[in-house]
Point group: C2
């Protein structure tokens, strides 16, 4: 089954001995650091079991790649631990295709894996490379740095709501944002040397901003009216749109600190990639996140912070 | 929960940025190849759900480390994708302890992970290093090379049978072999430059020997009477002992090809490590595995090859 669906020639360099031995042998680029991360996607927890198989394959890789994006690392190799309830070719073929298509676009090779029988789950370990000292980290932001985010927010939560209300077309921009998130790999690499700190928005803007603040020993002031809401979010969620953007999670955008002088360069670099970069606040010496209380009645204080 | 149970200072070199950012940053040893592998251990498929938590932690890492052993690689870093049904401290503490104790002994650092709520499962990705051209592989055996195995066989299947008949003491050598397998890391490294091919016995001797034969384009002649049976196996399984040694799996011993002239050096090197190395046959030009039919009535032809 592995041979039929997942064995493809390595597209890129550095694979010295491929799938089919006890280990794969890789040749890391001399003088680079290796960035590694693992994420598990479990059916009915992280994605609907009935989602298109190609989207499940894409998404399981995308959430791991997003961690490489947040470090500014160049993707190299991945391994997949796949647990399957039904090893049905009609499901596996598009699943592998969705995974492989994103592999090709990201420039990463699948170099190992394990397949087990059990409740549907996909764990993907990713490896990227970055020159020493150039990785983006959660720490490093300074007081006064601008706070900026790529793309738009709330698409993950909005798409989940769309799925739950019966939407099944991936032409729906919210559902596509939820099921086919696009890791901001090129943007992350372009922000090396410009951003002072970075994280990907997987837990929700407020939670991930808190991680940045904690790691950098700072607070932040948010400008709620500046938040770039996902296309169709207000139409889908009405008053809940802001909550989705603040705490919905699963957006896989990059949230970064930027010294004021680096903003123009960053927006130009990301603009060339077709990725919007929006300033949504500023890092402060005062701990905590200011600005969310300004939302008035029905605002943040009424939100649980949990994924809707 | 991750911080409480799994965060420990890195014991070894090469961890530039540890757990707590989007990725961990590692510094591979210049001029070495990276050996990577992933294995999933799922409750009630790969181990009894009711097994001691410390043993589950040990075993999940051991089965991945065994793949590094089979390549002769030096362990460096691992990541754990843990899916938990009950995140109970009374279970997690010994689980993490069992995992960490083997980490310490193997000289490997846990550098990343993900914890999810769901059916109990542990996927471990391991990274080892090996000088270029020195890794043991499945291919490389030559006609006439001796076939040898470390330690003893049948302990995995014998221990599973012991568990199924109610044995719960890890003082039972078979149960210990099944629940606390010892990856042959030092032996694998000592066999670099001596063994012509290697694999770990995870699927069962016959299945894994067939993998070696396929990769090397050879057959093999087995000497059944030479098989080193695990301590207590005949007492536990009677006539089934040989089947357990041939096809039980889960033994995590190394099965290697050895040029005749390398045998003495290999036995001396492994003897210094306290690891027995037994010659159990020879590689042949004729495809297929000879010798198993010689077992007479009740012999191999009656066995299914499935794990009991």
């Amino acid at each position: 089954m592995i041979a039929r669906h997942f064995t493809r020639p390595a597209r890129h360099t550095g694979v010295m001995l491929g799938v089919g031995d006890d280990c794969t042998l890789l040749a890391p680029t001399p003088g680079h650091q290796l960035a590694v991360s693992v994420d598990t996607s479990l059916a009915e927890v992280h994605f609907p079991h009935a989602a298109p198989a190609a989207a499940i394959g894409h998404r399981a890789l995308a959430v791991s790649l997003s961690d490489l994006a947040a470090m500014g690392a160049t993707p190299r190799w991945c391994l997949m631990a796949l647990t399957l309830d039904d090893a049905d070719d009609a499901w596996l073929e598009p699943f592998a295709q969705g995974f492989d298509t994103l592999c090709a676009r990201a420039g990463i090779d699948l170099v190992g894996g394990d397949v087990t029988r059990g409740p549907l789950s996909v764990s993907v370990t990713v490896h990227g490379e970055v020159p020493p000292g150039e990785a983006l980290t959660r720490h490093g932001a300074h007081e006064g740095d601008l706070l900026a985010v790529t793309g738009s927010l709330g698409g993950g939560a909005g798409g989940l709501a769309a799925w739950q209300s019966g939407e099944r077309s991936l032409d729906d921009p919210l559902l596509a944002a939820y099921l086919l998130p696009e890791p901001r790999l090129a943007a992350g690499q372009a922000l090396r040397g410009l951003a002072s700190a970075a994280i990907d928005v997987s837990d929700g803007l407020l939670a991930d901003l808190q991680h940045l603040c904690d790691a950098s020993g700072l607070g932040a002031a948010l400008e709620l009216e500046a938040l770039p809401l996902a296309q169709g979010l207000v139409e889908r969620l009405g008053e809940g749109a802001l909550q989705a953007a603040l705490s919905g999670g699963d957006d896989y955008e990059l949230l970064v600190g930027l010294p004021e002088g680096a903003l123009e360069s960053a927006q130009r670099a990301l603009g060339a990639l077709g990725v919007p970069l929006t300033v949504i606040g500023r890092f402060t010496a005062t701990p905590g996140i200011q600005g969310v209380e300004a939302n008035g009645p029905g605002g943040w204080q009424h939100f649980s912070g949990a994924t809707p």
